[in-house]
Amino acid sequence: MVLNMTEGPVKKPVNGNGCCRTSNGVKPGMNGCVKNHLYQQHSYCSSDEKSSHICHNGGIYKRPFKESFEETPMLVAVLTYMGYGILTLFGYLRDFLREWKIEKCHNATEREEQKDFVPLYQDFENFYTRNLYMRIRDSWNRPICSVPGAKFDILERVSYDYNWTFKYTGRIVNDVINMGSYNYLGFAENSGVCADAAAEMTLKYGVGVCSTRREIGNLDKHEELEKLVAKFLGVEASMAFGMGFATNSMNIPALVGKGCLILSDELNHASLVLGARLSGATIRVFKHNNMQSLEKLLKDAIVHGQPRTHRPWKKILILVEGIYSMEGSIVHLPDIIALKKKYKAYLYLDEAHSIGALGPTGRGVVEYFGLDPRDVDIMMGTFTKSFGAAGGYIGGTKELVDYLRTHSHSAVYATSMSPPVVEQIITSMKCIMGEDGTTLGQERVQQLAENTRYFRRKLQEMGFIIYGNDDSPVVPMMLYMPAKIGAFGREMLKRNIGVVVVGFPATPIIESRARFCVSAAHTKEMLDTALNVINEVGDLLQLKYSRHRLVPLLDRPFDETTYEENED
């Protein structure tokens, strides 16, 4: 259901008028004044029986599914644009001074003999880096000097020339609470079962074999890992890669090519985008988690076929992620699987953030929705986040995996995974599955779910604007104004909390945010400390933008006119 502030009186009668609504989710009649707002707040609920006559997909969701994207308050948006305006003006002033050699130029410039060539540093991204990012650069890329667990140590650094260079003071900021690592299950440890097993494996196997899996780099550990991953996911077969990013960017080109169609979510990670572009297939982008948009694209693809020739597409591949790392939203997988079956497309699911972090036993978004993993054609995920290791996997049918083994670039050319890393994955995965004879892994999954709920709930109660699904351990908190990005990072570090702040180009320019990642390793005390500090800094920086009172229950029915019919 959309609470769209700009078009209330016009849209209301249409919403109330049940007969206008068609059953397959096509929006009734065009509504001229409706703006396409990506981040409209929509609550999405389909658990209760009484709303099933409104929900066309009421039976699919087995649990309440609540996501919110509160709209930006108008005043905040205006002030944010004003701030960027001021910074841009000063950026032009500084560029002018540098151009006329009035001030020393620190950044990269064209050499004298290149001055008649195409300019290299004139586009907006460079301007942004030089004049806006540079001013608050100290909030990023902070070097740490300990294991990035629930707490870590940060090397203190200072800058005497406004962030152009940094100097290390030699001091260490100890015991900073880490709210930034993707360490969902807390397996990033330098002691314990996983670390011991990895150390033992280093002594036994060494740190790596300098060859590919196809040649002489295939170890028994790799095969053991692949069997374990397949068992963990509940699929026929799987294969592991040494690099998570390359798993996406090198396997998509092996799966689709010219004459195929890729339907990609607009907020997909760069690795999926790169893979899609490398494949040479036609790419069409649907609105984030918007099933109407996806269905329209699918219909068009089936009806019209390829452009000009109108031949049918060879394959249609839908690319989605489990949890979107910038929005904290969870993919509407039941809807997507229904669509995929209806239109006979293939589904590629990137579980980079969701594997281990979602579902009652940590099996990811498929288990979270209680679906069958065989309905997802290609299950991809990484070992980098929940398992505290490195690399990625692809799971699916045996045919798929055998095909990829011979055709994927990252399977054929890449060096095989390092045995200690493999051992870390095996140990942590067995721990999650309970195969080590303890319930430790299960407890961690439980702890993460509890921590997530608690942390999100508390932040919402404090009045911050929090994006995403209530069950997602990625918690984006909106900051909006450019000065507040830097100020938030600095003030939090001053109070011994390490946070990640995100701005353009990773987000739309006005929607800068801080992103907390909740971990199972966080104790309640740590979370409370962090929450108190966030509360304090939030008051100091006036970050409590939210104008929504917390709704106690999810009794607002899902309304299919949530989604804008997109025209492009």
């Binding site: 701030g83 000063f90 006036q542």
Partner: protein, 80 residues
């Protein structure tokens, strides 16, 4: 005690001003330029308002009062 609280309030207000206008991330000399320009603009606006608004209000009042059936100035002039 009150003076201290007032001072704190002013410094908090100034901090908010820094954050909203992004002066927070500007270098000191840029900040002084920005503050100077802003102060000048505000001062000029206030001064112009002070000088011209009373005149405009008077003119507007005269205009509307003449519209609302007030006696015409020229007729007054002829009568005398």
């Amino acid at each position: 005690m009150d003076v201290k609280r007032f001072k704190e309030y002013i410094s908090w207000l100034y901090y908010q001003y820094l954050l909203v206008t992004c002066s927070y991330v500007l270098e000191p000399w840029e900040q002084s330029i920005f503050n100077t320009v802003l102060l000048t603009v505000v001062a000029m606006v206030v001064y112009t308002a002070y000088v011209f608004i009373p005149i405009h209000i008077r003119l507007a009042l005269e205009f509307f009062s003449s519209l609302c059936g007030g006696q015409h100035e020229s007729t007054v002039a002829i009568m005398s």
